[in-house]
């Protein structure tokens, strides 16, 4: 049985971005990171990264500063909840202009 036949027989996914489609379109609230409050961004040191650790969809990078991939971020808000320095705010998607989206 070829891989193609098998993949048509059942629902199957491989690890990688976007297997569930453009899930960023589901988002109602957008997590916005304030680099002046974020611990790694403020200190310039690889530390904390709770947002990266807790993100259930793996769309937050372990970088300085952390970045969020809005193409796939569903806006669940867990990163904002877990950030110990309150650097992430959930902002209504309706408040962004078309260009910002």
């Amino acid at each position: 049985m070829s891989k193609e036949e098998f993949c048509n027989m059942i629902s199957i996914s491989e690890p990688g971005p976007g297997d569930g489609g453009n899930t960023g379109s589901w988002r109602v609230l957008r997590p916005v990171l304030d680099a002046t409050k974020c611990i790694p961004a403020k200190t310039g040191k690889p530390s904390c990264f709770n947002c990266w650790l807790y993100c259930p969809d793996g769309v937050v990078t372990k970088t300085i500063p952390p970045t969020i991939d809005y193409t796939y971020c569903k806006g669940c808000g867990i990163c904002a909840e877990e950030c110990p320095s309150g650097a992430i705010t959930m902002v209504d998607e309706a408040s962004f202009t078309k260009e910002e989206k």
Binding site: K3, F6, S11, S13, E14, P17
Partner: protein, 397 residues
């Protein structure tokens, strides 16, 4: 090798000869001796398999789903309420396209409690997407179990091997048990190309959305509806595979040749009794008696219920004047499920025989040969008077 054993042991030795790798089962009457025999085989070192005792039938099927997904040949068995307790997992096994084989020793479904035979348990599970095969004697149980693994692994669809509780499961009959080398020549080791593999991590049976979706490579991956359509198409395609595998089995073992229906004195029959399981052999006595009286009657046993071999059924029955469907199950509030399927298969025939429906032996009610004789006689003599309404045989109140 000729042996005299119970139907449950005929099934267990088939499972052993198929070199099953994982068995997970929960005992339930009348299936229990089958699972006991398998645990003996494993404990005694005769069958190098993993035997996983579980706390319920739901778990038994869940274990088989997991082990089959990991690439192991997997087996379970159950009856009646145990089968129904697995229901959600049965759908899952079919949708996951896992070649699990399961024996069901057919038993009536409670309430009220009954441990005796009818077909309500498996007939009520006909729409799962599983293949359902029915056996009429011990040789068929033994052979069908071995064939079921090949069929399941060829079409990637789970297979239920159904046989009458007590009437077959607990009675002793002689049957031929093939040599291991013969079975090995027929049934190669289970070697799926796709299975759970840490080297190539993949997620099986992930959530689908109403529409199709792009996968990570940008290719269109099927949605729920496409996957379900493929299951149906492959089930229909399994009809051809059943015939092919029956032929391959015949070449090695010298048995078979009637993959869908097993006719008895049907060649010139005006009237044909139609049923599943061991009942068709009992009806042979009635057929012989009526033939002696000059009535051209035959009996046909259906071996494959899902996928329904409609063309074979139509070809076999369309020529006769009347078909009498004898059933040990009922689609409550309507009519016998087999009866409805037979009528549906005959609908496109140029000339259609009348079709009557007789309900027999629910909850193990004794099916007397004289009752069957009366039912067939009544049906043949009262074509117009008996409509679609199921006729009940053997009621005492």
């Amino acid at each position: 090798m000729h042996v005299i054993e119970s139907g449950n042991v005929a099934a267990a030795t088939g499972v052993k000869l198929a070199r099953t790798q994982v068995i997970a089962a929960y005992p339930i009457t009348p299936q229990t001796p089958l699972t006991e025999k398998l645990s003996e085989f494993v404990e005694g070192g005769e069958l190098p398999a993993e035997y996983i005792p579980v706390e319920s039938e739901h778990s038994a099927m869940a274990v088989c789903i997991a082990s089959s997904t990991a690439g192991a040949r997997s087996f379970t068995a159950t009856s009646a309420n145990g089968l129904l307790y697995m229901n959600e997992q049965l759908h899952w096994a079919a949708g996951s396209r896992l070649p699990i084989v399961m024996c069901v020793a057919n038993r009536g479904v409670g309430a009220p409690w009954t441990v005796w035979n009818d077909h309500q348990d498996t007939v009520s599970q006909r729409d799962l997407g599983w293949i359902q095969l029915y056996c009429a004697d011990h040789q068929q149980i033994h052979d069908t179990v071995i064939k079921a693994f090949k069929l399941a692994e060829t079409v990637s669809i789970p297979v239920m091997v159904c046989y009458d509780g007590y009437l077959l499961s607990h009675t002793y009959m002689p049957f031929d048990q093939p040599e291991q080398e013969q079975v090995d020549a027929f049934l190669p080791p289970f070697a799926p190309e796709h299975f759970l593999n840490p080297e190539a991590p993949r997620n099986f049976n992930t959530v689908t959305l109403p529409d199709v979706r792009p996968d990570i490579h940008g290719n269109t991956a099927p949605g729920y509806m496409e996957i379900r359509k493929t299951l149906h198409s492959d089930l229909r395609g399994a009809i051809g595979e059943i015939e092919k595998i029956d032929g391959e089995f015949g070449e090695i073992f010298g048995r078979g040749g009637e993959p869908f229906v097993e006719p008895y004195r049907c060649d010139d029959a005006d009237y044909v009794a139609f049923c599943m399981g061991s009942l068709s052999y009992q009806v042979r006595d009635v057929v012989d008696a009526m033939r002696e009286e000059g009535t051209k009657v035959g009996v046909m046993g259906l071996k494959v219920y899902r996928p329904f071999p409609d063309v074979a059924v139509r070809d076999a029955l369309a020529k006769c004047k009347g078909v009498i469907v004898l059933e040990k199950a009922l689609s409550y509030g309507n009519q016998g499920a087999l009866f409805a399927d037979v009528k549906s298969a005959l609908f496109s025939a140029e000339t259609r025989p009348f079709v009557h429906n007789y309900i027999v032996g629910l909850g193990g009610r004794e099916i007397k040969t004289e009752h069957l004789y009366d039912a067939l006689t009544e049906s043949i003599n009262n074509e117009a008077a008996i409509g679609d309404e199921p006729q009940w045989v053997g009621l005492k109140m």
